[in-house]
Structure formats: structure tokens, C-alpha cells
């Protein structure tokens, strides 16, 4: 049997998996339309041990973001994952951070100046909508699990022939 014939034989047996793979590729690449027009967003962000206020910011892709960054107690920092923006602020001073939200998804902003015991866990969240990575991940998980269950259904038990491998069945 040639390699091509073998591939077709495999596909006949595992067509459910094949459809699942096609669907998974589909949900990972399907274009998600931008619904809202870009705006300018001005946000006051205050840092204090060991949290940011607000701790979660929602904006949309394309928005111009102006962050007025302050610190309430000790020196704090701001580092935005995925954007690489970094700033440092002393109490009583306001620093302005500006950027355009070009990437969608959830990006954590973190304190980048050692500010106390829980400093490594001082985190906030910037969600740039539409949150494509999250919804694609959810769709991917759903497609994957349905594919597996469908495969188990159509294989009529042959997929658990390995169930007792290396075991002493009850």
C-alpha cells in the first residue's frame, strides 16, 4: 500500500478527527470584525501596595490610551505585557503614559519597581476588545472536546481498547 493510499485509509477511519482539525483551524483564523470606532481614552491609574486602581481596564482595539499614572504610598512602576511600555512614578507626581491599543487580548500591567513583599504579584489587567485570543481559545476548546466525544461515539468502543493497558481491570 502506497503512502497516499495509507493516508486515505487513515482518513476513512479518522474522519471525525479530520473534520475537528479543519474546524479548529477555522475558529483560530476566522476574522472577527471590529465593531466600535477607535476613541481616545483617558484613564487615571493609581498604584498602591499591592494593587492598581482600577485593577481592570476595558478598551477597544485602535483606541488611543492616555494613562495618568500616580502612586499613593511608595515608589511604584508600570510595565505593560505585550506592549513593553515601562514607567516609574514617585508619590505626589503624575506620569502620563500614551499608546495606541494595537493588539487585542488581555494584557497584564505589573509593578516594575520593587515595592514590598507582594511586589511580584502586583498586577492589573488591560482588556483590549474584541478579546480575540480568549474567544478563540474557548471556541478551540469546544471544538476539541466535541471532536473527541464524536470520535469516541463513532469508534464504538475501539478507542478504549487501551483502557486496560498495563492494568489489572476491576
Amino acid at each position: 500500500m502506497s503512502r497516499v493510499q495509507k493516508s486515505f485509509a487513515w482518513m476513512r477511519q479518522h474522519w471525525v478527527i479530520l473534520i475537528g482539525i479543519i474546524l479548529a483551524i477555522g475558529v483560530m483564523t476566522f476574522p472577527i470584525p471590529q465593531i466600535t470606532d477607535p476613541q481616545t481614552r483617558t484613564i487615571t491609574l493609581d498604584a498602591r501596595q499591592f494593587e492598581f486602581a482600577p485593577h481592570r481596564i476595558h478598551i477597544n482595539k485602535g483606541d488611543r490610551v492616555i494613562i495618568q499614572f500616580t502612586a499613593s504610598d511608595v515608589v511604584h512602576g508600570f510595565y505593560l505585557d505585550g506592549y513593553g511600555i515601562q514607567e516609574r512614578v514617585e508619590p505626589g507626581i503624575t506620569k502620563q503614559i500614551e499608546f495606541v491599543a494595537e493588539h487585542t487580548g488581555k494584557f497584564r500591567y505589573r509593578c516594575s519597581v520593587s515595592c514590598g513583599s507582594l511586589h511580584p504579584f502586583m498586577i492589573g489587567e488591560l482588556v483590549v476588545g474584541p478579546n480575540e485570543p480568549f474567544w478563540r481559545a474557548i471556541a478551540f476548546v469546544i471544538v476539541s472536546v466535541i471532536t473527541l466525544i464524536a470520535y469516541q461515539f463513532f469508534s464504538k468502543g475501539t478507542s478504549y481498547e487501551h483502557a486496560t493497558l498495563g492494568t489489572s481491570p476491576a
Binding site: R48, F50, E51, F52, H55, R56, Y79, D81, G82, G105, K106, F107, R108, R110, S112, S114, S117, L118, H119, P120, F121, M122, I123, G124, E125, N131, P133, F134, A137, I138, F140, V141, I142, S144, V145, L148, I149, Q152, F153, K156, G157, S159, Y160, H162, A163, T164, L165, G166, T167, S168, P169, A170
Partner: protein
């Protein structure tokens, strides 16, 4: 017992047997790790109190933890236990030696470890006891150092009282989850032919001989079917005069299907580990500052409330929800099995899910904070040293753009493995594959829901 789909590594890499038979094998590993362990304690006690500038915090809770959960446990099972420095002083005291096998029995008081404690419950409660203080332990070098020192002292005391590695087998809170998750590892220490062991009466692997000690983990390799309690110390390979003990490569997660050894204490370990991965993701990686403060014991009432909810979620909420799901599964699948046993069996589906959840959590922790290690290497105490010229290296998180893909990929893999395991477990109790599938559906729903929660926490 079916032993197909195994590749005997020692047959394909013959020189490995020589290395493993050498009495230097384990001491080389343990002496190396003991050096770093001692440094972690000393820097913790005498170094800077700033966690991210202290070797004790950075190397234990970021470097070691990352290596353990992302690489060692998934790929090499319990091999870390062979290198672990914690029980080493106690073991050396028992053996009155470090490398060579000394004649005679181990030097202990030969107490008998209580039968009712010969399970994973101590490890479960020990892990929870530490977990409720985790925000403090992970960030305070001194507390972390005392904890490590305490582990070692308990190991020594237990080695004086009892023979063998009672600490590792029944007490070590880390060893408990390593044991459970090593069920997934693609590697195992097993006998090649059980019939050889059955007829070989001297049982060198249990009582030892001039080349090796009897199994320190109190396991008989001849009947070993799971990785959970094998510390991979390789004493049995040294002891076996028949060369019947081998290292196999095998399909991932093979041990999950060993039905006869499933136990409630291990099932609870699976619940606890999954719940802790969820709660740590909320508390440590989430944006809720007040929750971090409560976990950090800003006031005693806050911490008590936090600890209460933490324990409740671990001991009642998650197991309770899982029991209800199992009840539904039993009804749908028509599985005639006591609920307690079915809950115990199905709980093993949470092993792949829990392991991948911990890997996803650790990706975030390690990739974000791993760069602290570069500076700490040059200045382990935080005293301003610059041993390798890297003290001034800046904190730089890396891989943040890759993180959603890594976390989604690993969580999906764990979820699929868990759902497939649920189907196989259901199949062990019903000959009809359609009934097995119906029975598995509620468990698949539970597993998928937990995966959604993780995805929301990391990406949503």
C-alpha cells in the same frame, strides 16, 4: 497484566545501567542539590528580606518550581525525589554512610509507622497547611528558609524513629503531588518479568544485599504497577541479581488506568491540587489586590476568612461538585458501583487536568519572574555583591505574547486527556461503549467547565 507498548531504555542505552548501578549515582545528585538547598536556607535567614532579590526565594519558588512542574514531573516522574536534598541528612544518619553500602541494618529506633497514617492524608493536610500561608512563604525569605529547615528536621527525626524514607513516603507535602502527577510520566521503573521475582525468594530488592539497600520507599518492585510511591532512587536496579529491574518508556498516563490501586486519599490529592491551581491563579495572578492582602495576613480576621474559604473550596466545594457530577454520570451510564468508589475512580481524570493547570500557572509565574534569577545569581544575599557581573540586570518578563497560546495549548491537551481518561474509566465498569460514553458525559462537562474557568482567568 499487559506489558505491551513499553520500551526498555536500559536495553537500548546499555551504559545507563552501569551509571544507575554505581553507588555514586544518587549521592552525586543529592550532594549537588544539597549545596543549593543549604544556600537557599542561609540566604533566606541572613540575606535581604526583599524576596525578589534573595536567592532563597528566587531559586526555590521560581527556578526549582518551574523546573519541577514544567519539566521534571511531566517527563521524568519522581526522578526529583532521587535528587531531593531534604531527606538526605536523615538518610545518611540511618545508613551511617554516604556512598558505600554499609553492612548491617539501618540505624534507627525501629518504631513502626502507624498503619492509619500509611496513606496520603498527612501529605494532603500538610500541603493545605502550607498552601494557606503561601502568599507569605513565597515572598518572605526568612519564612521560606525556616520552612525548608523544618522539612529537613522532620526528615531527620523520622529517620531516627523509623526505617527507610517514611518522611518521603507519608509526610512530604511536595512528594504527595509529585507522586500523584508522576502517574502521567512517560517513564517507569518496573520489573521486566514478574515471574522472575515471584520465584526469586531472597528478595534482594526488599532486604538489600552487599550492593544496595532494600527499597527505601518500602515498595516491592515485583508487583509495582504505578509510579506513585517509587522514588526512582535506583537501589532496586543495583540490588537485583537477575538484572530484572528496568526503566521503561511508555504511553503517557498509563498508570491512570490501574483500577485496583485507586484510593480516596489520592483522589483527594487530585481535588486539592486542582483547587489550589485555581485558587493560586485567582490570588497570585489575578488583579484583586484586597485578596492578596488577605492572603498576606494584613489583619488576622481577613486571613482567617481567606484560609476558611480556601480550605472549604479544597475539601468540600470542589469534591462536592465532583460528587454531584459523578452521581449524574452513574445514573446516565447505569454504572453499578458504590458512589464513593466511582468518585474515587473518576477523580483520576483530574490528574492530567491538574498537572496541565499547574503547568499553565507556572508558565505565567516563571516566564514573568524568571529574569530575577540572573541578578540573584551574582548577589544571592542581596548584599550588593556582583560575583558574575549580572547584579544590575533588569527585570524583564519574557514570552508574554506567547503566553495565551502556551496556556490554551497545554490546558486543552490536559482537558482532552482527562475526558479520554473518563471514557476509559467508565469503560472499565460497563461493557457497552455507548453507556460508557453516556456515563462519561457529565464528567466531560465538569472538566470542560474547569478549563473554561482557567481560560477566563488567564485570557478573559
Amino acid at each position: 497484566m499487559i506489558r505491551s507498548q513499553r520500551i526498555n531504555v536500559l536495553q537500548h542505552v546499555p551504559f545507563l545501567r552501569g551509571i544507575l548501578k554505581s553507588r555514586l549515582f544518587q549521592p552525586v545528585l543529592t550532594i549537588s542539590t544539597l549545596f543549593f538547598f543549604t544556600l537557599a536556607i542561609v540566604t533566606g535567614l541572613f540575606g535581604t528580606p526583599v524576596g525578589n532579590r534573595n536567592f532563597g526565594i528566587v531559586f526555590v519558588w521560581i527556578v526549582w518550581w518551574g523546573l519541577l512542574i514544567i519539566l521534571l514531573v511531566p517527563f521524568l516522574g519522581r526522578l526529583w525525589c532521587a535528587a531531593c536534598p531534604i531527606p538526605v541528612p536523615g538518610e545518611w544518619l540511618q545508613r551511617r554512610g554516604i556512598i558505600n553500602r554499609r553492612k548491617g541494618r539501618l540505624s534507627t529506633l525501629r518504631w513502626k509507622f502507624p498503619k492509619r497514617l500509611r496513606n496520603m492524608w498527612l501529605q494532603n493536610f500538610g500541603f493545605l497547611g502550607i498552601a494557606i500561608f503561601s502568599a507569605i512563604i513565597l515572598t518572605r525569605p526568612e519564612v521560606s528558609a525556616w520552612l525548608l529547615l523544618g522539612f529537613s528536621l522532620i526528615g531527620i527525626v523520622l529517620s531516627i524513629l523509623y526505617e527507610n524514607r517514611v518522611f518521603c513516603r507519608y509526610v512530604c507535602p511536595v512528594g504527595g503531588f509529585i507522586g500523584l502527577y508522576s502517574l502521567m510520566a512517560p517513564i517507569e521503573v518496573r520489573v521486566q518479568d514478574p515471574a522472575v521475582c515471584a520465584t526469586h525468594t531472597p528478595k534482594d530488592c526488599i532486604i538489600g544485599n552487599e550492593y544496595a539497600y532494600g527499597c527505601p520507599w518500602m515498595v516491592f518492585p515485583g508487583t509495582l504497577e504505578r509510579n506513585t510511591y517509587c522514588g526512582m532512587c535506583m537501589e532496586c536496579i543495583k540490588a537485583c541479581p537477575k538484572n530484572n529491574v528496568v526503566i521503561n518508556l511508555r504511553p503517557v498516563g498509563s498508570d491512570l488506568m490501574v483500577a485496583k490501586e485507586r484510593r480516596l486519599d489520592e483522589a483527594y490529592k487530585a481535588f486539592i491540587m486542582l483547587a489550589c491551581a485555581l485558587l493560586y491563579s485567582v490570588v497570585l495572578l489575578g488583579p484583586w489586590g484586597w485578596l492578596k492582602q488577605w492572603a498576606n495576613m494584613d489583619t488576622l480576621p481577613h486571613w482567617l476568612a481567606y484560609a476558611g474559604v480556601f480550605l472549604l473550596a479544597n475539601l468540600l466545594l470542589l469534591p462536592g461538585l465532583f460528587t454531584l457530577t459523578t452521581l449524574l454520570s452513574r445514573r446516565l451510564g447505569g454504572i453499578q458501583l458504590p458512589l464513593r468508589q466511582l468518585v474515587t475512580d473518576y477523580a483520576y481524570t483530574l490528574v492530567p487536568l491538574g498537572l496541565t493547570a499547574w503547568i499553565a500557572f507556572s508558565f505565567s509565574l516563571v516566564f514573568t519572574n524568571g529574569s530575577y534569577a540572573v541578578a540573584v545569581l551574582s548577589d544571592p544575599f542581596g548584599w550588593g555583591w556582583n560575583l558574575f557581573g549580572t547584579t544590575e540586570s533588569a527585570w524583564t518578563p519574557f514570552g508574554s505574547s506567547l503566553m495565551p497560546f502556551l496556556q490554551t495549548g497545554i490546558l486543552t491537551a490536559g482537558m482532552l486527556f482527562a475526558v479520554n481518561t473518563a471514557y476509559k474509566i467508565a469503560g472499565q465498569y460497563t461493557p457497552d461503549p455507548r453507556r460508557a460514553l453516556r456515563g462519561m458525559l457529565p464528567i466531560a462537562g465538569f472538566i470542560t467547565s474547569i478549563t473554561f474557568v482557567f481560560l477566563w482567568l488567564y485570557l478573559g
